[in-house]
């Protein structure tokens, strides 16, 4: 499998702060959905900013789609990566939804005709075409994130980074955005990195990385990560709902064989218990 991002032995610290990353290495496979989970302050968002060249490494190297992140390549790299931030308010620049989506294209001097076409298609992709003349400030949180995603889709990146992009949304809005990104990923064969502390969001990833105090402490499929509920707790993350229910049952004297089952497996097991009675 090709690695679309290679983070090689990097070190980084913020001014007047201790070393956050000390010789960190991580590969992101092309076409995967990678979830990076960890507490606030674990370094998740910093890593995303380093990959996008928004801040500069102390040591080591980051390669994005064959290009080393440095001053010369920075614009080419940013063309490959779209980041959706936590708070869409912080990223709106256009007076209307349409203007906002067009902003990145204008910066790249796309001709007017073509720009109209791309903006229209991007807004259609996120089901926001009807809102094209609205003022972004008057949209709901979920709608704002859709517009932010349209702005990214318009630039046809290869990688989308969701930096806590759903943490301000209600559960329904969160699921809608995740479904949308999933669809866009599939249609355009993108790589998605989702930075989150929502364990349910991580459950849908192909691979999960746990970051704690700047160190990768585990790198596995969601199923294997969730087996180890002790580890999740020790780094201040929740266990998936089914693990919590299993723990409550264990406490009442009913012991399961495994510490993680998904919804269907757990229900099947409960049915088995009932039929044995």
């Amino acid at each position: 499998m090709k690695n679309i991002i290679q983070v090689k032995n990097i070190s980084f610290h913020y001014p007047d702060k201790p070393l956050l990353f000390d010789n960190l290495t991580l590969d992101v496979h092309e076409g995967e959905w990678l979830a990076i989970i960890g507490q606030n302050g674990s370094g998740k968002s910093t890593l995303a900013r380093l990959i996008d060249g928004l801040i500069v490494l102390d040591k080591g190297q980051i390669i994005v789609d064959g290009l080393t992140v440095n001053d010369q390549n920075i614009f080419d790299i940013r063309n490959k990566i779209g980041i959706v931030f936590q708070n869409p308010e912080d990223q709106f620049v256009g007076a209307t939804v349409e203007d906002d989506v067009a902003f990145g294209l204008e910066n790249r001097q796309v001709e007017r005709e073509k720009m109209h076409e791309i903006v229209k298609k991007s807004l259609m992709d996120v089901s926001m075409l009807d809102f094209r003349n609205r003022i972004p400030a008057n949209l709901s949180g979920g709608q704002k994130q859709r517009v932010a995603i349209a702005g990214i889709v318009a630039l046809s990146p290869k990688i989308i980074i969701l930096d806590e992009a759903t943490s301000m949304l209600d559960p329904r809005g969160r699921n809608e955005i995740l479904d949308l990104v999933y669809q866009i990923k599939k249609d355009n064969q993108l790589t998605v990195i989702s930075i989150t502390h929502d364990i349910d969001e991580a459950a849908n990833a192909d691979r999960v990385v746990i970051l704690n105090e700047g160190r990768i402490i585990d790198e596995e499929t969601p199923e294997n990560i969730f087996q180890n509920t002790g580890q999740l707790q020790s780094v201040g993350l929740d266990s998936p709902y089914t693990s919590q229910l299993l723990a409550a049952l264990k406490h009442r004297g009913i012991k399961p064989q495994r510490s993680y089952l998904n919804d269907e497996e757990l229900i099947a097991w409960i049915k088995q218990l009932i039929s044995k009675k």
């Binding site: 606030n40 302050g41 949180g141 809005g173 409550a248 004297g253």
Partner: protein
């Protein structure tokens, strides 16, 4: 119990007399008892934030009356003399840490009391108390609030509100963006302020698990109207209605619903993990023990 808050036929119209005129609240009447823990839920745009901003007169009704203890706010109320009311009603907005601005934590927390006429000494005393309440070590007093973690910054911001000794505390999505540990700390703080300091807590939230874990009273809003008021058990008893309101069930009810869909029979819809685990033990017996 005394009434802490009472809304009597309150309507609030944004941009009155313009073509954009829009009723954000429509003929809303309800009561919050003193010392209660009330959750206000409703999908985005249903009027929750508009509703709570009337409680400390940040917004005034276009029509109707809001009473907070013995203070009455009508459309004619002027902005004079609202200080006493605003001191009694502490409001923690979403992402309150964005409002931090002082050089040190203690100065930031003292700002409110000083603004309300406390002496330097009184303000410092209130601030020290508030820091204790939110579980911030005194060592942080002279740190810059901007050197703290997200969860700590939020606690400084909440301490700034608590330093004014409010009787009512309004929390508008207080845990948005926090990690699970930070989330639990803030919610447990709300519970502590309710149980030990007898504060009236009003929580605006999208998180149904918090509603069942912390609140005893729930107000459901839809399109600027209050559509249901009652204990969590009653509010979530009808899943179809909950979905119609574009809300979700708490995680345990959601999981129980999945069990029911596969043909498992449950007596009632459980709202918490403990309720669900108890029911499973009841129907399955302890046979599972032998299943090792």
């Amino acid at each position: 119990m005394d009434k802490a808050v009472n809304f009597e036929k309150v309507t609030h119209t944004y941009q009155v007399d313009t073509p954009f005129s829009q009723n954000a609240l429509e003929n809303v009447s309800f009561t919050i008892q003193s010392g209660s823990f009330t959750a206000i839920i409703g999908h985005t745009g249903s009027g929750k934030s508009t509703l709570v901003q009337h409680i400390n007169a940040l917004l005034k009704p276009t029509d109707g009356t809001v009473s907070v203890f013995d203070r009455i706010i009508t459309p004619k109320t002027t902005n004079k003399n609202l200080k006493q009311l605003r001191k009694k009603v502490g409001m923690v907005f979403q992402f309150p840490e964005k409002q931090l601005f002082e050089e040190t934590v203690i100065k930031d927390i003292m700002f409110g009391p000083l603004n309300y006429g406390a002496t330097e000494e009184e303000a410092r005393k209130s601030a020290v108390n508030a820091m204790k309440l939110v579980g911030l070590s005194a060592n942080f007093s002279d740190s810059s609030p901007f050197d703290l973690s997200g969860g700590q910054m939020r606690r400084v911001a909440i301490a700034g509100v608590l330093a004014m000794n409010p009787e009512i505390l309004i929390l508008d999505e207080p845990t948005a963006g926090l990690d699970p540990r930070g989330h639990k700390e803030i919610m447990d703080l709300a519970r502590h302020l309710h149980d030990h300091n007898h504060m009236t807590i009003i929580l605006v939230t999208h998180q149904m698990d918090d509603v069942v874990d912390y609140a005893s009273n729930v107000v459901v809003m839809d399109q600027g109207k209050i559509v249901k008021v009652g204990p969590p058990k009653e509010i979530f008893s009808d899943p179809k209605w909950v979905y119609k309101m574009q809300l979700d069930l708490p995680s345990s009810a959601l999981f129980a619903q999945k069990m029911i869909d596969t043909g498992i029979k449950l007596k009632t819809l459980p709202l918490t993990i403990d309720e669900l685990a108890d029911q499973i033990v009841q129907i399955a017996g302890k046979e599972g023990k032998k299943d090792e």
